[in-house]
Symmetry: C2
Subunit: 330 residues, 2 copies
């Protein structure tokens, strides 16, 4: 566009100083005198000077950019997109850019983008993309899953505690046979949920009822899963809903089947969303604080990159159960 962008040499020339001085002045290094600093800044403003980040990166051998990756299957799930946005906001505060790394971007022979570090959101077990990124030998922060072989920073929540809290709550509200609509054990979160549910059932001497649907399933799949449970185990008196967006469908199917949610059947979701506070009835859910999760990941990664935190540092993510009418009754 227009003509060539102004470089630091142009600025220096206009201010009548050397490029070194111009550079120092613009970055506020102490060595320049106040007068020259002002002159250089004015020259820069007049020319609309913007530092060339490529040149800076080349010189500094760092990019000022971090990458964030989430598994392909998760890109339609509101929770993860919120997490990405939380990360973007924090990145703005930490003055780093963020490149979102899609699976597709790494599928072919394309080299991975140049970044100073990488965030992996709840990486799948054996995800080839995650493996490739781990092999890059860069600072890494994962949400939830830690990889044994590589030292990574980890942000993780006490999902076990939250799910147990939900199950105990269902039991205390009179449920004797809570079923679990589960996400597959391919993410760490999915795995831990299944483990906790099974353990809890064992402790309570309750027969577990698990029905599983892949990540990214559509509403119809969850509806069908619900009907499947109702047919197989009619005595089911509560549903623990794993997948984001599934609770609303489960509640709908139950109501169509003549059950009264919150009264003769309870529904609790493992992933809260704004909609769940306004369904009829509102649905009890775990607020996974996705924005905070993303922000914490960035904060930790930036500290690792800057050498202010150990590469295997670990940060807790506070999460909380929101109790609503679907388990409390009307």
């Amino acid at each position: 566009m227009s003509r060539r962008a102004a470089t630091i040499v142009d600025v220096a020339k206009r201010a009548g100083v050397s490029r070194t001085t111009a550079s120092d002045a613009l970055r506020g290094h102490g060595r320049v005198s106040e007068g020259t600093r002002v002159a250089v800044e004015q020259a820069a403003a007049e020319l609309g000077y913007r530092p060339n980040t490529a040149a800076r990166s080349l010189r500094a051998a760092t990019t000022g950019t971090i990458g964030i990756h989430l598994p392909e299957a998760m890109t339609r799930i509101d929770y993860y997109l919120q997490t990405v946005y939380g990360a973007l906001e924090q990145a703005g505060a930490d003055e780093v850019d963020v490149t979102v790394i899609t699976s597709r971007r790494l599928a072919g022979e394309q080299p991975p983008p140049s970044v100073d570090g990488i965030i992996l959101l709840d990486p799948l077990a054996d995800d080839p993309v995650a493996e490739r990124l781990l092999a890059l030998d860069l600072p890494i922060v994962t949400l939830e899953r830690a990889f044994g072989e590589v030292a990574t920073g980890v942000v993780s929540a006490d999902h076990e505690g939250a799910i147990r809290e939900l199950l105990d709550h269902l039991a205390s509200r009179g449920s004797a046979a809570p079923a679990f609509l589960a996400s597959p054990a391919v993410t760490d979160w999915g795995t831990r949920a299944q483990v906790v549910y099974s353990a809890w059932c064992r402790e309570q001497r309750i027969q577990p009822t698990i029905v599983e649907r892949p990540f990214g399933s559509d509403s119809a799949a969850y509806a069908e899963a619900t009907r499947e449970v109702l047919a197989a185990r009619p005595q089911t008196d509560a549903f623990l809903c794993g997948p984001d967006g599934s609770a609303i469908v489960v509640a709908d199917v139950l109501q169509d089947a003549g059950r009264v949610v919150g009264e003769d059947v309870l529904v609790a979701a493992m992933v809260d969303s704004p909609a769940l506070a306004y369904t009829d009835p509102p649905v009890t859910a775990v607020d996974l604080a996705p924005r905070a999760a993303g922000a914490l990941c960035v904060e930790l990664l930036v500290r690792i990159i800057r050498g202010e935190a150990r590469p295997d540092a670990s940060v807790p993510l506070p999460i909380e159960v929101r109790y609503r009418a679907s388990t409390l009754g009307r």
Copy 2:
């Protein structure tokens, strides 16, 4: 990490050729012989060579990265996040990286990230961030809003047609007094919706009923807006719901008020979402195809950057009304 990353000189040395030859071999330029190509590729693989993008950018005076910006207020809205993801996917296919530009990133004195072009998603009127980005004098593509002063590529849908289709449909289903829960006229979409609704009411000699809530309002705000309309105009027999996520709340409030959605009151949404197909009843809505929107923006921007499309090219986005029980009856 580990030791210094391999450069092209290391590769060249190992393959016993000059760096130019190594460079040409790796990028498949015809000048190298098959034998050397193989040798260079093997050397690169052995060293785990990855081209330094900063150096490439500096040399080529392009970054291989595009920026995408959406207004701060929109970052909690599923529709926009889906759009961003549609863009990311297409970017993967076009082999460009994407940096998401948050408002915060540009709020302070930080220089804008270096990119080859920018996508502005439904920019707000007088958004200072958008203004700054427009002033960068880079190729730009906007979703919906065209700016008079600057030549930008534009991706836009026939919202007027879709909204008229909805309103005609409501009328044909017997509505004589449809109310409009509107988004503010700060986005192009919001503005056009209000204009169309008003025009349609005038043509039909129907008194318009508009209640407006800011972008990013929570469910409670939509609930209150609904009650406000019911109180002010009890004869209201249909709701056109603008904000993403509002229809589910409106339907809920109506049902609490003893109305039967789909029978004695109709509900239609201007923004479809997966949940709307599974509420009770399912809600008629306009499928705005956010993924496609994002993808089209990237595709157009990349063509403009490559000089394959005019900088003010315009691309239509197909959208479609999904008819469901909230207006069709049970």
